[in-house]
Symmetry: C2
Subunit: 336 residues, 2 copies
């Protein structure tokens, strides 16, 4: 392999084969991928329904505290499948590489993809690589699509009822804040200890669903917690009331957001799960989430109410209420 | 909607919802997509094996004679599933939009995706949109991933035997030549009548498989016929001998390639199928392919032979032979 990726690696010829066979296939070793066909033939458990999901990843920078684009690309799609009640089985991987990317960086990212896929128990079974000219991309964009089997049917915003509780699996706003600070690259003079929360939510989703009473699961990525909760109650005869004092936010995240004029409730998370659950089961689900690594700081942050139809309201520490609308404009481009 | 895409459409907030709900969802209308979850829950026939495939599309220009990036993105992934012996059912769609793309162009491309998906009988069940800054992409990149059920098992290069025949479903090199001429944009002074061959291969693949004796199917896209055939015999105890006079190539494609210093056998095709078949069944498969629209010009172009182990040889019209290696370097970047 050369030291940097040239357009030749996207030709479909010798160099493309070299890229695929030396870099991707050994990292993801499995029989479906090794067949090197146009696609992959894989078994599925009988009689189930499938859960499908896809995400493209255009994050800048590629490497950030707590992860890189490769780890994100596995977690992002795996998490979407888990949020739908699915058990993730297979991923596809598409890479759009900008001419000039150092091969060493690509190698590190592929290793992260492989490690994360192994850890969460999914196989990368087929993929595609394209190379675009310098200035027509930004180092590397990834797409993953995932296939799982439906394990917990019936989840969705349609199942939400007034009186339900709103849980979150941990600290809010870490990913968005970490990436923003990484992008500022020390220019803010902050010595940051904030890391992305990027992680697979498979165990957390399973723990919540096994405890029962779950209405809907969702990972609040782009647009953050406030935007996701708005999606739950838009056009519905109920709203969601959040309690400001119950929100788990790291002091350093709050401080960085204050400095940057941001709001943690609109910051992207990449390893957090919002869970709306029946009031009877809320304590059991919360306890189950807290028992899973990464869920230690799970909290009940609000409830579904008839008081604010179609809206999300924040009960502030001062006793007032303010409406949290969906994110307007782009808080931070290319956060994932 | 605004007239051009701004970064706000990638925020994950209000504008992203507007983009998805006004542009994508109505075009692809189906219950799985309309649920607007993190993924899609879909049924599959019981007891089968799945075929998965993915492709990213970075073609330049977005619109070319015979198609556009949207049509290509459906055909490309559908065809990969068909080449594996699969019946395509579902597609995911990822869009990476460069800031500044006219909404009217996006709308036309989405309409093409929807029309092609309907025509071939697949549903776009989930998707994702990202927006990158101007100069960090090139108008639009698409990724599709496809899920199908395995209908014709056992296809693959491992099934090839000496004596097998090599068939192609029609004219060679149309797509690559059409895109190259579109890119030259009249600058060559050629008034071109060459169109991309971009089309779904579902009916052709089914016709061939139903006739029996098929060893492997493959659509010779990037790298062309010569590169695909090399992949069939690399490291194997047999080679492939092609007959130059049997190759179906339009005179205007040959002329354009001669002018541009290219070779049709290395030009991308987007609606052609290579089929290696047992000698006993070759005539039946050829007749079946010719009976399908788009397969009228199907031809037997060569055979598998022990004479050239691991290599592809072209028997020229002058009675000599020359080796066709895999494509080296990038014949034409961003052809698909």
């Amino acid at each position: 392999m050369d030291e940097i990726i040239t357009l030749d690696y996207g030709s479909g010829g010798k160099k493309t084969s070299e890229l695929i066979e030396k870099m991707f296939v050994p990292a993801f070793a499995n029989p479906a991928l090794e067949a090197l066909g146009d696609g992959a033939v894989v078994p599925v458990p009988q009689g189930g329904r499938l859960v499908l999901s896809t995400d493209s990843f255009v994050i800048d920078p590629l490497f950030f505290p707590g992860g890189n684009i490769g780890r994100l690309a596995v977690c992002g799609t795996v998490n979407d499948i888990c949020m739908c009640g699915g058990e993730p089985l297979y991923l596809t991987l598409g890479a759009i590489i900008e001419e000039g990317l150092p091969v060493a960086q690509l190698k590190e990212i592929i290793a992260s993809i492989a490690a994360e896929a192994r850890a969460v128990g999914v196989q990368i079974v087929t993929g595609d690589t394209k190379v675009v000219e310098k200035g027509r991309g930004d180092k590397l964009y990834l797409n993953t699509a995932g296939v799982g089997v439906l394990k917990y049917p019936g989840l969705g915003p349609q199942a939400i009822r007034p009186g339900d509780k709103v849980l979150i699996s941990g600290m809010i706003g870490d990913h968005g804040t970490a990436v923003m600070l990484a992008r500022a690259d020390g220019g803010l003079g902050l010595e940051s200890t904030i890391e992305s929360d990027c992680m697979p939510l498979k165990a957390l989703a399973a723990a919540a669903c096994e405890a029962g009473g779950v209405r809907v699961l969702r990972d609040p990525t782009r647009g953050g917690v406030a935007t996701t909760l708005n999606e739950f109650c838009e056009g519905r005869p109920f709203g969601i009331a959040l309690s400001e004092k119950a929100l788990p936010i790291r002091p350093q995240v709050q401080a960085a957001c204050d400095l940057l004029g941001l709001e943690p409730l609109y910051c992207a998370n990449e390893g957090k799960m919002l869970c709306v659950v029946s009031p009877e089961k809320a304590d059991a689900v919360l306890a189950a989430m807290r028992g899973v690594p990464g869920g230690e700081n799970a909290a009940c942050i609000g409830e579904v109410t008839s008081d604010w139809p179609g809206r999300v309201a924040l009960r502030t520490v001062f006793g007032g209420s303010r409406i949290l609308s969906k994110l307007t404009g782009a808080q931070l481009p290319r956060i994932c």
